[in-house]
Structure formats: structure tokens, C-alpha cells
């Protein structure tokens, strides 16, 4: 092979690169979504582990509740739950609007989801403040704050992602190459919701 041949090869390579770059871009969103789903499945095992730990503690600990604690208030968290769960429907509506290329509709419902998520976090903060036990109040306090806190962190991450997607919606031709970011954020939000439902049943309903 001479250097001229090499140069020619290089040129061909460039061309084929461009050709495949287009193919790949088409594929990339699919790959990303696939990878994201795998990641969520994996992430769910952390929650499953915490749930398993919670169940073991709950069923085996003799003095489950710390002294002076009667149980958990269910009413406020139930309202919170309703809001968080309904936000899953709202985010779905937002996604439909984006699908129909109605950006303002998308932004409105997207912002509404963020507001509902933020309200959930606010409600949780209020609840935490009113509680008589802390993180280090025995196994009960530990698991309670660990589960709600770890979940809250996910809600917070979800809101952050939503914020990024909202800002992106104001940049021009942002969704030309597919809406992976929005779809992934939305999927993440549903995931966080499902986790919360299990968590709510475990911690608040099963007392």
C-alpha cells in the first residue's frame, strides 16, 4: 500500500463514516432508550433491596416503633401520593402534545408535572419536619428516612431532568433528532411513581 492508496482509503473511510453516521443517529435514540430501560431495571434492584430489608426489619424487630411514636400519619402522605401519581398522567399528556408538535401545550403540561413533583417534595419536607423521630431513631427511623429520602432524591433528579428538557424546548430544532430526552425523563418519572406506590403501601398502609 502506498501513501496515495492510504489517502484514498482515508477518503473512502470518511464517506462511509458519514453514511453510517446517519444510520447510527437513527439507531442511537433506540439504543439510548434501550440502555436507559436496562439502567432503570438495574436501579429498581436497589429499591427492591431496600424494600426487602424493610420487610425483614418490620417482621423481625421486637420494638419496631421508637418510644413515643404511635405510628405514621397517613392522610397527608395520601394526598401527596395522589398528586404524584396523577403527575404521571399529566406528563403523558405533555408527551402527546410534543408528539403532535404542539410545543406550548407540551411546555404547559410539562411545567405542571414539575409543579406537582415539587409539591410532593414540599409535602414530604413538611412531613419530615413534623415527625418526632430522626434518621438515627432505631431501625424504624433509619429505614423510614432511607426509603423516603432515597426516593425523594429520585423525585428531585426527575424534576431536574424535566427542567433541562423544558429549557431545551426553547432551543431551536431541538427535537429534530427524536425526543429521547423527553421520553426517558417521562419513563423515569413513571418509574419513580411506581416505586412510590410500593413504598407508600409498605410504609404507610402496612403499619
Amino acid at each position: 500500500m502506498t501513501s496515495i492508496d492510504r489517502a484514498l482509503d482515508q477518503e473512502q473511510l470518511e464517506q462511509s463514516k458519514q453514511a453510517t453516521a446517519q444510520e447510527n443517529e437513527h439507531d442511537e435514540a433506540g439504543n439510548s432508550m434501550f440502555g436507559f430501560v436496562i439502567f432503570l431495571l438495574s436501579e429498581s434492584v436497589i429499591f427492591l433491596s431496600f424494600f426487602a430489608g424493610f420487610i425483614v426489619y418490620k417482621t423481625t424487630t421486637s420494638d419496631w416503633l421508637p418510644p413515643g411514636v404511635e405510628g405514621l400519619e397517613v392522610r397527608e402522605p395520601a394526598i401527596n401520593t395522589v398528586i404524584l401519581v396523577s403527575s404521571s398522567f399529566v406528563i403523558y399528556i405533555a408527551e402527546r402534545y410534543l408528539h403532535d408538535k404542539n410545543l406550548w401545550g407540551f411546555r404547559f403540561f410539562w411545567l405542571l408535572t414539575m409543579a406537582m413533583g415539587s409539591y410532593f417534595l414540599y409535602g414530604q419536607a413538611v412531613e419530615w419536619q413534623s415527625l418526632k423521630f430522626g434518621f438515627s431513631s432505631g431501625v424504624f427511623g433509619g429505614t423510614f428516612y432511607l426509603l423516603t429520602g432515597f426516593h425523594g432524591l429520585h423525585v428531585f433528579t426527575g424534576i431536574l431532568l424535566q427542567g433541562i428538557m423544558l429549557i431545551r424546548s426553547f432551543l431551536s430544532d431541538n427535537y429534530e433528532n427524536g425526543q429521547f430526552g423527553v421520553e426517558a425523563t417521562s419513563l423515569f418519572w413513571h418509574f419513580v411513581d411506581v416505586i412510590w406506590i410500593i413504598l407508600f403501601v409498605l410504609i404507610y398502609v402496612w403499619q
Binding site: Q12, N31, G35, S42, S49, Y57
Partner: protein, 550 residues
């Protein structure tokens, strides 16, 4: 199939390219081949570090008294030896192999997520250096063993907030994040980036085993992460999850830990099964015996690996039914692994065997693996396990798996693909010397651990009764020999990479997509994506592998 090495390129172009490639390895490259080599080389550094720890430990154990280092130092050494070997060497080096080989074996131009790939790699030096720097904090590094069982692990005698165990937990978590990133990437790549014609049963076994291993990472690692987070809370934030004096349950941590950490052994050995399956056909010049069964049995191992973890806890106070259940599930693992072993023997049988270094390592690894499998069955049997659990018998078994089988397989893999990765040929003589030193060192180091365990010497001891002295001296000599065995390897790798003979594209006359590429492959791997038309390992049947290449 045989290809003659291309004529030498003009010197200027050649050295220019080399210089560039040399720099690439120190950059934030997103090329899977660069990342693969970055992984392997970085991991090897940590392997040497943890190996030195092991040699200091064996130095301590050459006499019964605790005379070489303080007991706290010894405890730190065995903790960090295990930790760095697993998190700094094993997982990264295997990620390196998977990174380098999977795309070129399935006909992809790169991994599915090249940037994620690079980020995952650059976490390795971060947590590796954290492990090493933890020697400098007051109170020293973690001293609770790599299992980090509470309550010992949360006792924190210094009372400092920044302590060895804290850094350990943080570093292990970062390692977990890096591994999950890698696993998501590798699984997506294998499932979605295969070239035309690369159906499931045209994939090389290495790809199958990597897939099987990475699935374990995905479902197993999060459990360890959960346990580590809770342990960190106990250590630093005053919770009592695992503190029995305040209602916690220390055995729960053991469940979290082993739910991941036993399958983790399969994460490590499965790709090595893959390497064996690639190497034997090449040097025996025969197709892999029962390819499909070998491939599928990897996934069976993955499935079973999720239900065996309690066998580490037979002496922890496990109910009888649990002991029996997990004994049986553990023993069942030997069926799919047995299938593989017999298939390799079937591959070798009646072949045209060449004893090049990769083949030597694969053969040595195979024999060591059979031995460790037999001791593994013994350990799974509850009555025997009650006697030898937590003794040197387990240490011997484990090192026969990890070193005798896995590291042998890795060495074999490095030699086998070295010409592909570097374009150069290693020195066969040094390779053979390396093999024999390693094989003798391994036997001398790890075989005596079995009688020690049977006699009742517990693991993790800095001192022992004089009755154990004889076998310990032998083991120590073996350990020093093993340490020395890396010298010819390093000389071989460095000198042949710099000044070795040029290897052709396919020096082993091997069949496989990677061998149709130039050595080293171009940045984009394939000029044109291959169209695969044949099953792998078509030795003895001159039939092209692809429609459009070589």
C-alpha cells in the same frame, strides 16, 4: 484463510501513527479499543499493587508469630488485597476485554455509548487511587476484610469522620457505578449493535459469556450498593441497620453482600470461559465442541447464580431448610459448568494441537478450574462446609478459581489477542517461561492452603499455631515465585510492544471477525459492515465467515 502480513509501510507514516496511538491511551478517548487497553493496563497496575500486598502478607505468614507487621497492618493488607484485586483488577480487566473484543467480534464500529464508556473507565483510576490513598488517613485503611461485615466494619476505633472504612465504602460505590455503566453499555451493544447476519447462534462464545456476566452485574450489583449505602449510614450517620445492640440485624448485610458477591465470581469467570472457548479451537484447529450448548449454558449459570448466595452463610446461623436448599442450588451450578469443561476437552481431543503460550495458559487454567470445581462441590456440601468454612480451604479454593482459572485465562487472552491489539508479536520464549513460573507458583502457593484449611487454620489470621508452619512456608515461597513470574511478562509485553516483530492480521490463522481486521484495527474497525454467513469456529471446513470480507 491464511493471510500474509502486508508489506511494510513507509517509515514516516508508520512512526507517526505509532506516536499518535501512544498518546491516545492517555486521553479521554471514546474508541472502544483504546478504552479496552486503558482498562487492561490500569487494571494491571492495581494487580501489581494488590500482589505486593499479598507478598507482604505471605511474608508475615512465613512464621507463626505476628512479627513482620503489626496486626492492624496485616488486617489492612488482606482487606485491601482482596478489595483492590477484585474492584481494581478483576472487574476492570474484564471490562477491558469486553470493551476491546465485543464490538469487533459482533461486527460493530464501536460500543453503543462511547462517551459513557469513557466515563466508566475514568472512574477506575479514581476509586483505585482512593483505595491506595486510604493508607494515609489516620487509623489506616479499612480493616474489616473485603466482606466488610458489620459490626466489625463499623467499629471505627479512631472515631474520626474520615476513616478508612468510609473511603472504602465510597470507593466501592463508585466502582459499582462504573460497573453498572459498563454493563448497560455492553448489554445494549451486544443486543442491538450486531452486524447483519450475526444471529444469536453465530456469536462467538466470548460474547455470550460477556452478556451472561454483565446481566449478573445489572441485577446483582445494586444489592451490594444498597448494603453499602446502609453500612455507610451506620458508620457515619448514626443509623443502626446492622447494629445488633440497637435492634439492627448484621446478618442482613451478609445477605446483601453475598447476593452480589457470589454471582460476582461468575461475572469474573464467565468471560474467562469465553476466552477458553475462543482459544482452544484456534490452537487445537477444531471447532468448539457443542458450541450451542456451551453458549447457552452461560445463561443457565447466570440464572442459577442468583439463587446460591446463602452458601457463604452456612455457619452464620442459617435455618436448616435454607442450608439444604442452597446446597442443592449451588451443586446444580456444576452441571452447566461441567458441560463447558467436557466441551473443551472434546475440542482438544483429536485436534492438531499447538502449544503456543495462549494455549498453555488455557490448558493450565482448565486443569486448575477442574480442581477448583471439585473443591467447590465439597464446599457446597453443608456438613463439609461447616468444617472448612472460613478456613484456608476456602482461601485455597477461591484462589484456584480466581488465580488458577481466571488469571490464567486472562493471561492466555492477553497473549492471544496481543498481536491484534498492538500489531506486534510477543516473544514466545518469555511467554513460555512466564507460563511455567506462574503454573508452579500457583500450585505452590494455593495447593498447600487446602491441607491447612482441612487441619483447621482459619483465614485472615496474622499468626497461627506452629503445627501449620510447614504448609505456610510452602505457600509463601509460592507467593514470592508468583510475584517474580510477572517480571518476564512485563518485560515481554513492554519490549514486544515497542520493538516486537510485526504480527500479521491473523498470526494464529484463527477464524473470527476480529481476525479479518488489520492489526491493530482501524478506528472504525470495519470499512464496510460485515455480513456474517457462517457459525463461528469453522475449523476444518474451508468456508468463508462473511459474505463480504477476507
Amino acid at each position: 484463510m491464511t493471510q500474509i502480513a502486508p508489506k511494510k509501510l513507509p517509515i514516516e507514516a508508520d512512526s507517526h501513527e505509532e506516536l499518535l496511538s501512544w498518546r491516545r491511551y492517555f486521553s479521554f478517548s471514546t474508541d472502544h479499543k483504546v478504552i479496552g487497553i486503558q482498562y487492561i493496563v490500569t487494571a494491571f497496575f492495581f494487580y501489581l499493587v494488590a500482589g505486593i500486598f499479598a507478598m507482604i502478607m505471605r511474608g508475615e505468614l512465613i512464621t507463626p508469630e505476628p512479627d513482620l507487621v503489626d496486626r492492624t497492618v496485616y488486617n489492612a493488607l488482606f482487606t485491601m488485597h482482596g478489595t483492590i484485586m477484585l474492584f481494581g483488577w478483576m472487574f476492570p480487566v474484564l471490562a477491558g476485554f469486553a470493551n476491546y473484543l465485543v464490538p469487533i467480534m459482533i461486527g460493530a464500529r464501536d460500543m453503543a455509548f462511547p462517551r459513557l464508556n469513557a466515563v466508566a473507565f475514568w472512574m477506575v483510576p479514581v476509586f483505585g487511587i482512593m483505595f491506595i490513598l486510604s493508607f494515609l488517613v489516620p487509623g489506616g485503611p479499612a480493616q474489616a476484610g473485603w466482606w466488610s461485615y458489620p459490626p466489625v466494619s463499623v467499629q471505627n476505633p479512631t472515631g474520626q469522620w474520615l476513616n478508612g472504612e468510609f473511603i472504602w465504602l465510597l470507593a466501592v460505590t463508585i466502582s459499582g457505578v462504573s460497573s453498572i455503566m459498563g454493563a448497560v453499555n455492553i448489554v445494549t451493544t451486544i443486543l442491538r449493535m450486531r452486524c447483519p447476519g450475526m444471529s444469536w447462534f453465530k456469536m462467538p462464545v466470548f460474547v455470550w459469556t460477556v452478556l451472561a456476566a454483565q446481566i449478573i452485574q445489572l441485577f446483582g450489583l445494586p444489592a451490594l450498593t444498597a448494603g453499602a449505602v446502609m453500612l455507610l449510614c451506620d458508620l457515619s450517620f448514626g443509623t443502626t441497620f446492622f447494629d445488633p445492640s440497637q435492634g439492627g440485624n448484621p446478618v442482613l448485610f451478609q445477605h446483601f453482600f453475598w447476593f452480589y458477591s457470589h454471582p460476582a465470581v461468575y461475572v469474573m469467570i464467565l468471560p474467562v470461559f469465553g476466552i477458553f472457548s475462543e482459544v482452544f479451537p484456534v490452537y487445537a484447529r477444531k471447532p468448539l465442541f457443542g458450541y450451542k450448548v456451551v453458549a447457552v449454558s452461560s445463561l443457565i449459570i447466570t440464572g442459577l447464580s442468583a439463587v446460591v448466595w446463602v452458601h457463604h452463610m452456612f455457619a452464620s446461623g442459617t435455618p436448616g431448610w435454607m442450608r439444604m436448599l442452597f446446597m442443592f442450588s449451588t451443586m446444580l451450578i456444576s452441571v452447566p459448568t461441567g458441560i463447558k469443561v467436557f466441551a473443551w476437552v472434546g475440542t482438544i481431543w483429536g485436534g492438531k494441537i499447538r502449544l503456543d503460550t495462549p494455549m498453555l495458559f488455557a490448558l493450565g487454567g482448565l486443569i486448575n478450574f477442574v480442581f477448583s470445581g471439585i473443591t467447590g462441590i465439597m464446599l457446597s456440601s453443608v456438613p463439609i462446609d461447616i468444617h472448612v468454612n472460613n478456613t484456608y480451604f476456602v482461601v485455597g479454593h477461591f484462589h484456584y478459581v480466581i488465580y488458577g482459572a481466571i488469571v490464567f485465562g486472562l493471561y492466555g487472552g492477553i497473549y492471544h489477542w496481543f498481536p491484534k491489539m498492538t500489531g506486534k508479536m510477543y516473544y514466545e520464549g518469555l511467554g513460555k517461561l512466564h507460563f511455567w513460573l506462574t503454573f508452579i507458583g500457583t500450585t505452590l502457593n494455593f495447593l498447600p492452603m487446602h491441607p491447612l484449611g482441612l487441619m483447621g487454620m482459619p483465614r485472615r489470621v496474622a499468626s497461627y499455631d506452629p503445627e501449620f508452619a510447614f504448609w505456610n512456608v510452602l505457600a509463601s515461597i509460592g507467593a514470592f515465585l508468583l510475584g517474580m513470574s510477572t517480571v518476564p511478562f512485563l518485560i515481554n509485553m513492554v519490549s514486544s510492544w515497542i520493538a516486537g516483530k510485526k504480527a500479521g492480521d491473523n498470526p494464529w490463522r484463527a477464524i473470527g471477525l476480529e481476525w479479518l481486521l488489520s492489526s491493530p484495527p482501524d478506528v472504525e474497525n470495519f470499512e464496510e459492515l460485515p455480513i456474517v454467513i457462517a457459525e463461528p469456529y469453522g475449523y476444518g471446513k474451508s468456508e468463508p465467515l462473511t459474505e463480504n470480507m477476507g
